[in-house]
Each structure stands twice: as C-alpha cells, then as structure tokens.
C-alpha cells in the first residue's frame, strides 16, 4: 500500500474527510502512483487525473493535444477500460497547463504530442491508474456491504455483489474513503484483453459531431471580449529584422489601432482582420540585409548534400551499426550503390497559424488560446516573451486544424506575436497568419541526399548495407537545447535509416550532418518519410541486380521477424502480387518507430504529361494492440494519402533565402479525384500499442517508385516524382 503522503497533509486530510465525490491524483512516485481524496469543497492543490461525481459523471484528464489523430478519445478510453467505466458517463477534460506530472514518459515528462507516441507512452500509466481507481471503488463497496472485496465484481460504472446488489460508481463516490487505501499499481492485475469492453471496440470519436456541424472551436475561431486582430509582415528572409518602418499610410486605414515592431516583423493591429490585412499592404519597411540565409538556394543546397553523401571521406555520425558493413560489402560477389534525393516539404495543415493572447495590465501575465503540440513549450514561449513565471501564464490548448509537426517548435512565433501585440495595445489580440505567411515562413521537412551501398552473394542474397544520409539536424533548429543533450543523434533527421524490421547482419547507417539552409521542423513520418523512400527503392534495385522478385528478396530478410513476414505475405495476397502479370505494382516495407507497414501501389503513367496516377493501394499494418480500430483505419489511410501527396507533387524551393511557393496553387496537395481505393489490413496481435498516426506514410514513396519501374523500366530517385521528373525519366 502507498502511504498517503506527498502533496501530503492536505491530500490526506481531503482523502479522509469524505464528501462530494472522489478525485484521484498522480503522486510524487511517478505516473503509476495515484492518491484519492474526497471533494469537500476544498480547492485541489494539484490536478486530479480522474474525478468521479455522485451523479456518476467520470471526468478524465486528456494530457496530450488533439490535431486530428483522436488521442482526445483514445487516451481516456484506456483509463476508462481498466476503471470499467461506462463510456457514456465519461467526460473528457483537456489539460491546459504545463503540469509535468501528466507528461508523456516517452518525452521525459514534457507535455509534447508528437511522433505517434501518445497511446504508446500513456497506455500503461493510464491502465494502471484506471485499475487503481477501480480497486478503490471495490474497497468502498466492500466496506459498505460488509463483504470481502474479492467477492465483488464490476460492470460498467457499477460494483456488483454476489447477491446481485449493485452500487453505482457515483453512489460509491459519495460514500467517503474511510478505511480505504490506494493499492500499489504493481499489485493489481490488469484486465485480460479478452474482457475489454472499450479498447479494441469501435467506440465513436467524441469530437466527430462538433466537427460535422461547424461547432468545433479552433484557435482561429476564439473570440474574447474587446479583442483586436493582428497580422504580421514578416522579414522576407530568415534572420533579417526591420530597420525602419514607414507606417503613416497603414495607420491611416480605418480601424487600425497600432503598428508594432517585432524582432522579425512588423505587426498591424486593427479592429478587424480586413483592416489589418489592408493596412499591412501599405507598410513600407526597410529590412536588414545581413542574414546568411540570403545565400540559401535549394538547388545548390541539394547538390552540396549530394556531394557530401557521395564523398567517402565525409565526416559522419554513426546512427545505427551492427556487424561490419564495409567488410561485408568489400567481400561481396556483386555490389551496388545509388543516390536518392528529396526536396523540402511543407506541412500544409489547413488551419493557418493563429493564436489569441490577453496580456494582464501589469504586462507580467497572460491568458493564451492556441493550438499547439505541446503545453510545455507554449507555456515556455509565453513565459520567455513576458519574462515572467509559470504561475502567471494561463494557456488554453485548442483542437488543431491539422499539424503534422508544424506546431512543435520550442519557440512559437505566432504565440509570441499574439503576446507582444496584446501587450503593445493593452487589449486581447488574435494573430492570424495568411496561407502565404505560413508557406513563406514555413518550417520544412529537410532536403536530403542519400547514398546507399550494399553487396550481394553469389546466390543473390543481401550481404552488407551502408546507408548514408546527408541532411541537417532538425532538432538543432527547432529545439536547440534538446540538440545539446542528444547530439549527434537526431531521430527527427534519421528515423527509418536503422531499417530495424530487417535482419541485416552487417549494417550501418550514417548521418552526414550538413549545413542547414532552410527553416526545419518535424514532419509526418519525420526522417522515415525520406530514408524509407531511399532504402525501399534501393531494395528493389538490389533485387533486380540479384535477379530476384522484390518480395522474395525481402522475405530473406524477415526470417527473424515473423510479424513482418506476415505483413509482406498478407499484402502480397491482398494485391495479387504473385499473379500480377503486367499490372504495374510496386512493393515497399517500412513503418514508423515500432509500427510496421507493408504496402503495394498500383499505378498508371500518362506519358504525355508525366502524371502518375495511383489506381489502388493495399497495406498490411502491425501497430501492436489497437485501441480504436475504426480510427486506426482512418489514421493509416490518411497517412497513406499524405505519403502519396508527398511522393507525387509536394516540393518547396528556396531562392536567395525566400520560399518560392506561396499557396496551394503552387504547392500541390493531393485532391479527391486522385485518391485511389485503399485496402488496409490491420494485424491482430497481442503486443503493446506502438502508434498509428505515422505508420502509413513512410512506405508510400518507394512503392510508387517501384511501381513506376514496373510500368516504364526506369527508376525515379528524386522525390517528389513531379511531372517534369517523370517525363525526363521516360525521355518524353
């Protein structure tokens, strides 16, 4: 039993008093410790993870943030399952502060929602918390009914005795906690998955009705009393600042309240967004011209990265190594090496960046409404901007209109700008970026050049694999403090290059950390979005050199990964791989983190315009235990479509430090008329959940490149496979 100390006397007193309901807290012992106390009208000194009211309402904290992935529904489902709650009684509460007690264990307690880790990180802690709370309810019932606890069982939101007596959780919550103790989480047995009533069932998402009626409120929709609007003219090139501002014309626009000079831009604050946008067009700003970024040109950058990737002497940090890849390759019967390129890519979340801030009159506190992937860094941004302390910062984490990595940065400029402009005008201010603002000032998936080399034995098997990735550190840009702690290992830049689903005995992956020539951020699939493209396109080239079928060649490498083998065999069957005749199919086997994906793309090529049309896609996925199968299907399908879009059209160019593209007319995102039927099989496995948000994406590019080879006998080694590149590949 855990002693009732910790946030201590107050908690203990509250716990023993009894009263209006039960509240369960995270203890100092970490995520697995829970304390309980009754609500006796005393304000809680810490946030309860879970409260049960006498009316039966069960309130569960949602510690992550919601950007479309549905953690908002799935995380509380995990706790509700072990609590044996009636899901209809569950109320979900967004965690709106940087309370590290609720942090994701996979991020060292930082409140950070990224990398498909929410379910993975919170699965065990939330199950145990639910089981502890259920045990407390059983103890109360045993006390009231004067029967042994182990003679009782639970049904959704009720304890049931052998004689059929039922006590609802709400009724039990009102009975006080005398003689009740919190069991240690480790002493409780968790449910047998066969008994799950919520996990693994198709429980509808909580947010779907509001999102189908226009009622969901995003940061861009927030309105507070006396609010003004701001738009920011940002420096044309990273690192520049305004030297002088001629704003008389802008100030003369009706409704303009103020023009505020920011470190890297000039903000117009007005009574309406329309006035602010109109006035912004009239600003005349002289910018500094000193930034090194003025020399950034993406074509030159990629060529330099390619030189680095090819250069055997280039300095590299080892990302993953097993055995002796160089020797194995040197001793191989046959060797092959290839270079793969990928351009910068933009997140293209449909909700533009927006935030509302209301700075306190003394300028040392603020309330902020924003959609971001992290309570921690949002609170940090506000604190740093105002030079204040955490107790003066109130944040409201709004559901996001997509993010895909866009809202992960340690310093969030749009939050900062809302705070600075609110402080300047002494009113609440909503800052909105236009689409062009977001593209021009985007933070991108980095450009990369990858050199792969491998050997083949006389009987056509792989021996030795050396994967070199020339790309900058992403972490070093979007979270420099973190980079100091982890360098030279950059999971954002390198994920996927470890090819961990294959058993390759002599293996090496290197990170050639190149100079950064653009703003960077995590991006759906992170490194795997390009490393798996190169690795799986290369795998097909090796199979061809070995005169083997791409499927059979890969099956050699999954002898010790039966779950992976199952996916490859399954997707082969789904797609009719072995009887494909002259259908243009391409295979790929990748994944994300510990979630695996095998995919087959079927394509058609229009030789005249160079357009690739994906006509069908099949995928077999293993993501461990699935919490919400219907949502998992939706996430995986969305990830595949994201991957197709990224493979076919999405490309950011930078010239003299400025982003060339500006909106969806020159940054093309896949549209409905290019979406094929997608068949997805999700493996039923008894293993911990490993995440579904990104697993669909990394396999897609190579499957299309490999299908293109089947269609036209030419290799596509530069992503995206734009119409020009396709035409050039087929010589038309």
């Amino acid at each position: 039993m855990v002693a009732l100390t910790g946030a201590s006397d107050l908690s203990r007193r509250g716990f023993l008093q009894g009263g209006a309901g039960l509240a369960f807290f995270l203890g100092a012992g970490g995520l697995t410790a829970v304390k309980a106390r009754a609500q006796a009208g005393v304000a809680f000194d810490v946030n309860p993870w879970l409260t049960i009211s006498p009316d039966g309402a069960i309130s569960i904290i949602f510690p992550a943030t919601e950007m479309g992935q549905s953690s908002y529904s799935t995380l509380p489902q995990i706790l509700a399952e072990e609590l044996d709650a009636d899901w209809d009684h569950v109320v979900i509460e967004q965690l709106n502060e940087d309370d590290r007690g609720f942090g994701n264990p996979l991020f060292g307690g930082v409140l950070y929602t990224a990398g498909s880790t929410a379910v993975q990180g919170y699965y065990e802690p939330m199950r145990r918390a639910g089981a502890q709370a259920r045990d407390v309810l059983l103890q109360i019932a045993a006390r009231e009914l004067r029967v042994p606890k182990d003679s009782l069982r639970t049904e959704p939101s009720a304890v049931v005795a052998r004689d059929g007596t039922r006590l609802s959780y709400g009724a039990l919550a009102a009975l006080g906690t005398e003689d009740v103790q919190i069991p240690e989480a480790e002493t409780l047995s968790l449910k047998d998955p066969q008994d799950f009533r919520i996990i693994g069932q198709d429980v509808p998402r909580r947010d779907v009705p509001a999102k189908s009626t226009g009622k969901a409120v995003y940061a861009i929709d927030v309105e507070v009393e006396n609010m003004a609007y701001a738009t920011v003219l940002r420096a044309p090139v990273e690192g520049e600042s305004p030297l002088s501002v001629a704003d008389a014309e802008a100030r003369a626009v009706e409704g303009v309240i103020d023009v505020a000079v920011l470190p890297d831009g000039v903000a117009v604050v007005a009574e309406s967004l329309w006035s602010a946008l109109g006035a912004r067009n009239l600003l005349q700003v002289e910018w500094s011209e000193i930034a090194p970024a003025r020399g950034f040109n993406s074509e030159v950058t990629l060529a330099a990265y390619a030189d680095a990737a090819r250069d055997p002497q280039a300095e590299a940090a080892v990302w993953a190594e097993k055995g002796d890849a160089p020797s194995a390759i040197a001793n191989a019967e046959k060797t092959l090496s290839r270079l793969y390129l990928s351009d910068y890519a933009y997140h293209a979340q449909i909700e533009p960046m927006a935030a509302v801030a209301s700075v306190d009159p003394d300028g040392l506190g603020a309330e902020v409404w924003a959609g971001t992937q992290t309570q921690s860094w949002t609170a940090q941004t506000v604190m740093e901007t105002l030079g204040t302390t955490q107790d003066r910062v109130r944040i409201n984490m709004m559901t996001m209109g997509g993010s895909f990595g866009r809202r992960t940065a340690f310093v969030q400029e749009y939050v900062r700008d809302a705070v600075l402009t609110s402080k300047a005008v002494g009113r609440p201010v909503k800052v909105i970026w236009t689409r062009e603002d977001d593209v021009k000032n985007g933070t991108f998936r980095p450009a990369a050049a990858q050199h792969l080399e491998a050997g083949l034995t006389a009987d056509g098997r792989l021996t030795g694999w050396h994967h070199k990735v020339a790309t900058p550190t992403v972490i070093g840009f979007f979270n420099p403090g973190r980079w100091e702690a982890v360098r030279p290992n950059d999971v954002i830049s390198m994920r996927g290059a470890e090819s961990k689903f294959y058993g390759i005995s002599d293996f090496r992956a290197d990170h050639i950390i190149t100079e950064r020539h653009g703003r960077l951020a995590p991006y759906r699939g992170i490194g795997a979005a390009y490393t798996s493209f190169a690795a799986e396109a290369f795998m097909d080239e090796l199979a061809e050199a070995a005169e083997r079928d791409p499927l059979e060649f890969r099956l050699d490498l999954v002898e010790e990964n039966p779950r992976g083998r199952y996916l490859l065999e399954t997707v082969a069957e789904m797609s009719g791989w072995r009887d494909r005749g002259d259908r243009a199919l391409g295979l790929s086997f990748a994944g994300y983190s510990s979630s695996m994906a095998a995919g087959v793309a079927e394509i058609e090529v229009d030789d005249r315009n160079g357009e690739i049309l994906v006509t069908h896609f099949w995928a077999a996925i293993d993501a461990g235990r699935i919490i919400s199968p219907d949502n998992a299907h939706n996430q995986i399908e969305g990830g595949i479509i994201f991957g197709m879009s990224s493979a076919l059209t999405e490309r950011i160019d930078i010239e003299e430090g400025q982003v060339v593209q500006g909106n969806f007319y020159d940054y093309e995102v896949l549209r409905a008329d290019r979406v094929p039927p997608i068949d997805i099989h999700i493996a039923a496995v008894d293993a911990p959940p490993t995440g579904v948000g990104e697993v669909g994406t990394p396999m897609v590019s190579a499957s299309i490149a490999n299908a293109f080879y089947a269609a036209r006998g030419r290799r596509l080694r530069h992503k995206p496979f734009t119409r020009e590149r396709v035409r050039s590949a087929i010589g038309s």
């Binding site: 950007m67 479309g68 992935q69 549905s70 509808p204 998402r205 947010d207 779907v208 009705p209 509001a210 999102k211 189908s212 009626t213 226009g214 009622k215 969901a216 409120v217 995003y218 861009i220 929709d221 309105e223 609007y229 309406s272 967004l273 329309w274 293209a348 979340q349 449909i350 909700e351 533009p352 559901t399 996001m400 209109g401 997509g402 993010s403 895909f404 909105i432 236009t434 689409r435 949502n631 939706n634 996430q635 399908e637 969305g638 990830g639 595949i640 479509i641 994201f642 909106n663 969806f664 007319y665 995102v669 896949l670 549209r671 409905a672 008329d673 290019r674 979406v675 039927p677 997608i678």
Partner: protein, 150 residues
Amino acid sequence: MTQFTLNGRPVEVDNPPDELLLLVIRDKLGLKGTKYGCGAAMCGACTVHVDGYPEFSCQLAVADVEGSEVTTIEGLSEDGTHPLQRAWVEQQVPQCGYCQSGQIMRAAALLSENPTPSRAEIADYMSTNLCRCGTYNRIFKAVEQAAQEV
C-alpha cells in the same frame, strides 16, 4: 450597408463593401463554422451556398451577396441532422475536422445538382476541397450514404 439573408434570417452589415464575405460571416456575424484556409479558392474550407450554389466565401466581397440568400454550415440543418451530417458521423469522417464544414457544404451542393452521383462524379465534384488528413474515401462513402436518403 449590405443586406442579405443568412441561414434564412435577414441581416444587415455596415462592413466595407469590399470586405470578404468570409470575414463578415465569421467575425461580424459570429458564425465560425465557415473556415479560412487559403484565401485563394484553392482549398474550399470557406465554402458556403449563395442562392443555392457553392461559392468560395474567400472570393466574394460582401457587396456581392447583396439581396442573396447565403447558407453556411450552421444553416444547413436546424439541429445538425442533415442527411450528410448524419452520414459524416456514421462514417466517422473527420480527423482534424477543419475542412469538413466546407466538404459538407460542397457535398450538399452536389446532391442538389445530382441526387445519385457515381463515385467518380463525387470525386470529381469534391476535388475543389482539400482534406490534408486524407479522409477522402470516407467523404465518398458518406456522400453515397446520404444520397440514398435525400
């Protein structure tokens, strides 16, 4: 002053006549279901009906709808139970949800033009509207489901 009908109610606004209808609907009239996505007629998040036809409200000045009937997602049904909205819930279409008001308004216009669209006709008609989360196939299914009820 511009006068028009919004979701069946007459409204009168004193915004500048060239102000975007999108901003007037959202910020002056307070209906936030219509979204700003691109401002360039490229994403469809701002789709509303003007006299029954789908329009990008980011491409219209408020003066353009003088005397017209404008319908937003809030006016599609009184209680959110339009067959498309029910189908959206049954098919669990939305992920982030940001584009879905526009998708539903676009789909409603499709069904009033063509009550029994084929899958290819749905895909073609809906290709004005982006969904970055990639819910397109669910949108197709939901439109097909609603088409059977309308």
